[in-house]
């Protein structure tokens, strides 16, 4: 890779290729933005968009003391109280008595009315002269750590007793405050819940409470459970611009593949890395400029400190978006297909960035997404190096992997052929396979992606863990982990068979399978090594994600060696199983893979159950 050539290609991308951004486009963009700029204040002025406007119909007359409540809340539509209950109205209020129609809608309306009345009362009480009579109760909320561990924790780590609280950075000192409040949302002047830096106050509504990590004593309605509102807003703010960038980036990459346009570049004396790097650089720079603007905007707007960590933390996010789009553009056959691939990328990566929103209070899992670092940085919370590394390294490696796989396809014979996406996926993997040994490297390369996928899966299953029995959610987690791992081990092997890199004898299947298992085992054990070096760096979810890596609890050396080698045996056996199936085409692969998943699941389930009980 030579920087001079790379930069020249980058300059071409901006001037020549984007020369397409001609005067006409620029004019349309300008007019559009101007128009929306003019409309936006109007929209804001009329109170934004209230989608639930008027969905419940309440029969009430002006005599009722509840009338102003119903009138103030746009969720309700006022109707004649004489109207038929259930047909024309959902709730009837006769003076102070409210009756619902009894349907699910009626009950929902009544429940909404109840919370509306509470909010209304607080609002009028705020105008009272005698504030101590209006707010006779004041609350101070303290969060205290307990040793008693209840509820779901890490699943497979043999109960080494690191409770939920021992995450990183000296106690879960982040905890975003609650921005939504309890529906009153009118910028209550009162304080918020106090906490030792964990509970945010819900002072005001919305963003400002990002900084308010602790507040003063307030009224009961001011206390609110930790709710992931900031993460949601931030995820939206940071991710939305990226979607526009990847739109353009995907188009420019795919258009190289149309009518063999990219061939000229391929035959010129530059390397593949130069071309890809040069074409990516402007979009990376543009996206980073946008993100830095957003960070600076938030920091100055809220008067928050920090910013540097935030900027560093969005780098992997930007790279992940670009790399996934690059790979998608290499896979797609047509613009239409690219659109769907782009939407799929947008949706899945937004989900990934959004994951911390669900768990702001359960920090270790929240760190899966780099956005958590951004939230904590803006809140002024300290960020330990290991937490930072844990958060940004998996996406960074995954981005590298995506670029690497895509670059494998950036060559004449792959770029200009039309093949279905699944085959292209196999092509990209097979591009790295030369001999039986190379499978070790390919499988090991997939590890960051595996870790990321497993973490997201665990995070996604977490919310239901409270609703269903332990056996069910544990099985769900194990099943998703096992499926991801087996796919990672067997896909490269299958790709090798499809591309005739390996002969289809039983012996070669066993050899290749063993190599795949070995590669996975070595890479996974590498993770354990990381854990030994930085004891804090792998929170328990990570541990549960690598549950099959074997427990390292206090057990005798003989048992330890046995337990260490058992996973190796397992990986080799399962990889060989799917490899044997993979010899016989697609159907055989499906059978082999299912069998491997079943074996792996049975093993993990037994191990985990052994340690849970």
């Amino acid at each position: 890779m030579r920087p001079r050539k790379l930069l020249r290609i980058a300059r071409w991308e901006v001037t020549k290729n984007a020369g397409g951004i001609d005067r006409k486009t620029a004019a349309i963009v300008g007019v559009t933005l101007l128009l929306f700029g003019a409309v936006a204040p109007l929209v804001v002025a009329q109170g934004g968009v209230a989608i639930d406007q008027g969905i419940y119909r309440v029969g009430i007359d002006e005599e009722s003391p509840l009338y102003p409540v119903v009138e103030d809340d746009p969720t309700f539509a006022i109707r004649d109280p004489g109207a038929e209950l259930g047909e024309e109205i959902d709730v009837r209020v006769s003076f102070t008595r409210a009756v619902s129609s009894g349907t699910t809608k009626g009950e929902a309306a009544l429940s909404e009315l109840r919370s509306s009345v509470t909010a209304y009362n607080d609002r009028i009480m705020r105008g009272e002269a005698n504030q101590s009579a209006a707010f006779p109760v004041s609350v101070t909320l303290n969060y205290v750590e307990r040793d008693v561990q209840i509820g779901p924790g890490g699943s497979g780590d043999g109960g080494t007793g690191d409770g939920t609280g021992d995450g990183t950075g000296g106690g879960t000192g982040d905890g975003t405050g609650d921005g939504t409040g309890d529906g009153t949302g009118d910028g209550s002047t009162g304080g918020g819940g106090t906490g030792d830096g964990n509970a945010g106050g819900n002072i005001g509504g919305g963003l400002p409470s990002i900084t308010g990590s602790s507040g003063t004593t307030g009224a009961p309605s001011d206390i609110a459970p930790p709710f992931p509102f900031e993460s949601l807003v931030l995820a939206f703010l940071f991710v939305l611009p990226l979607n526009f960038v990847i739109q353009a980036y995907g188009s420019t990459m795919l258009s190289e593949r149309i009518n063999r346009r990219g061939e000229l570049m391929l035959v010129s004396p530059v390397t593949r890395a130069d071309i890809i790097g040069g074409k990516t650089l402007p979009y990376f720079a543009g996206a980073m400029a946008l993100e830095v603007l957003i960070v600076v905007g938030i920091v100055t707007l809220l008067g928050a400190e920090g910013g540097l960590f935030s900027i560093l933390a969005v780098v992997p996010l930007v790279l992940l978006f670009l790399s996934a789009t690059f790979l998608g553009a290499m896979f797609a056959r047509s613009f239409k297909e690219l659109t769907f691939v782009t939407v799929a990328i947008t949706v899945s990566l937004t989900t990934y960035a959004f994951v911390p929103a669900i768990f702001t209070e359960v920090t270790p899992i929240a760190l899966v997404s780099p956005l958590t670092i951004v939230v904590r940085d803006i809140q002024g919370a300290s960020i330990s190096l290991s937490a930072f590394g844990f958060s940004i390294l998996p996406p960074l490696f995954t981005a590298t992997l995506f670029f690497g796989l895509g670059a494998g396809l950036y060559r004449e014979e792959d770029m200009f052929t039309q093949r279905p996406i699944p085959l292209k996926v196999l092509d990209s993997l097979a591009g790295r396979i030369k001999r039986a040994r190379s499978i070790v490297v390919v499988v090991a390369m997939l590890i960051p992606l595996v870790i990321l996928a497993e973490l997201v899966a665990v995070a996604a299953i977490y919310p239901v863990s409270t609703a269903v029995s332990q056996t069910i959610w544990l099985s769900l987690i194990l099943l998703s982990i096992v499926t991801i791992e087996e796919l990672a081990k067997s896909l490269p092997v299958y790709a090798g068979f499809v591309h005739n890199r390996y002969d289809r004898s039983l012996r070669s299947a066993l050899v290749v399978g063993a190599f795949a298992g070995l590669g996975f085992f070595v890479a996974e054990k590498g993770l354990l090594l990381v854990r030994l070096v930085f004891p804090d760096s792998l929170p328990e979810v990570q541990q549960s994600a690598v549950a099959s890596a074997g427990p390292v609890a206090d057990i005798g050396p003989l048992v330890a060696i046995l337990l260490l080698l058992a996973p190796l045996l397992l990986h080799v056996v399962t990889a060989a199983t799917s490899a044997i199936g993979g010899r016989r085409g697609r159907r055989g692969y499906a059978v082999g893979l299912s069998l491997a998943i079943a074996i792996h699941f049975a093993y993990n389930y037994t191990v985990v159950m052994l340690f849970v009980s």
């Binding site: 951004i21 559009t32 128009l35 929306f36 409309v39 109007l42 009329q46 968009v49 639930d52 008027g54 969905i55 003391p65 102003p68 959902d90 209020v93 009950e107 929902a108 009544l110 429940s111 009345v117 105008g127 002269a129 009579a133 707010f135 006779p136 109760v137 004041s138 101070t140 909320l141 303290n142 750590e145 307990r146 995450g167 819940g193 030792d196 964990n198 004593t217 309605s221 206390i223 930790p226 526009f244 353009a248 188009s251 258009s255 009518n259 047509s334 613009f335 239409k336 297909e337 659109t339 769907f340 691939v341 949706v347 989900t351 209070e361 359960v362 279905p420 239901v464 409270t466 609703a467």
Partner: protein, 350 residues
Amino acid sequence: MSRDVRIAIARRDIASLSREKTIVLALVIQLFIAAFSSFLVVGLTSLYDPGSVESDQLTFGISGEAREELDRAARAAEVNTEIYPSQEAALEAFREGEVIGVLHSTDTGPTISVTATVPEGSVQSTVTVVQVREVLEELERDERTRRSAHLSTQPVPLPPEAEASPYFGFTYTILLPLLLFLPPFISGSVTVDALTEEIERGTLELLRVAPVSLTDVVDGKALGMAVLAPIQAVLWIGLLSINGIAVSNVLALVALVSAISLVVVVLGTVLALLLGQRRQAQLLYSIVALGLFGAAALLPEHPATVAAKLAVGSATQVTTLTVAGLAVLAVVLYAGTRRYVGSIDPERYS
């Protein structure tokens, strides 16, 4: 003849979608979004739901001067309590895990100040905080009533508690509009692709050799995409109904989705023909489409509100008029687009 040509083009486009299996991908994406958002809400609500934690774990320790009042309020809020003589004793019980939280009260005369201690960093803390708030709001109401002589306005009496599903509002105001409006958005995007692809690959010229006009080509491509979205809408409504979520005014909803998809398809068509390159057209399409969705707030009712009100069965005259208005707008815009297409010199793309 010309009808057949248009339908043939539409069928070709849809066939290419199904051949590439992208339509499957599209449905999977939508299913994923629906599942994820429902999951999120169900998950979050279950975090907030006291029923998700065993009830005997939800006993609060109460201490301090106003413990009698607190106890009364807790009983009204249906929360278990255990009275302790001192805060220390209560906190000791908390540490032992006998109580989930501690409410210690100090009566300062004019007000009662309560120090609530709840466990940190677990699923339970959310549930606990919700319970604390319920108890204290009950207490606040009691105390307000007691001090009513000092208040110039009286609080409004509270309606009874209802057995409502916490997901009800979410289902109709977020999930349903999301499911209904995502397909049109993607349809418009694919229209851009379908046209720019022909232009960029130079195959539009080949189509021109065939006895079809540019208007026919555009008609066919727009038709295919505009029909796809309402079909998906019907599918989603059917799926929701199977899951026990009653959706009213199905016909009006389908009309709404059809109108909106026609509007965005027009947008995609115009941008694609105007700019001729996917990158610019697609970029601008998403900006304009998102902007229009936001600007629609200036309508008497936002399309998302219209969808929610129609589905939940609270439609008003304004709702019906908005649907009709959007339908007329869509048809007018489409007619205008056809005229514009007719005026284009196809040579410009070669």
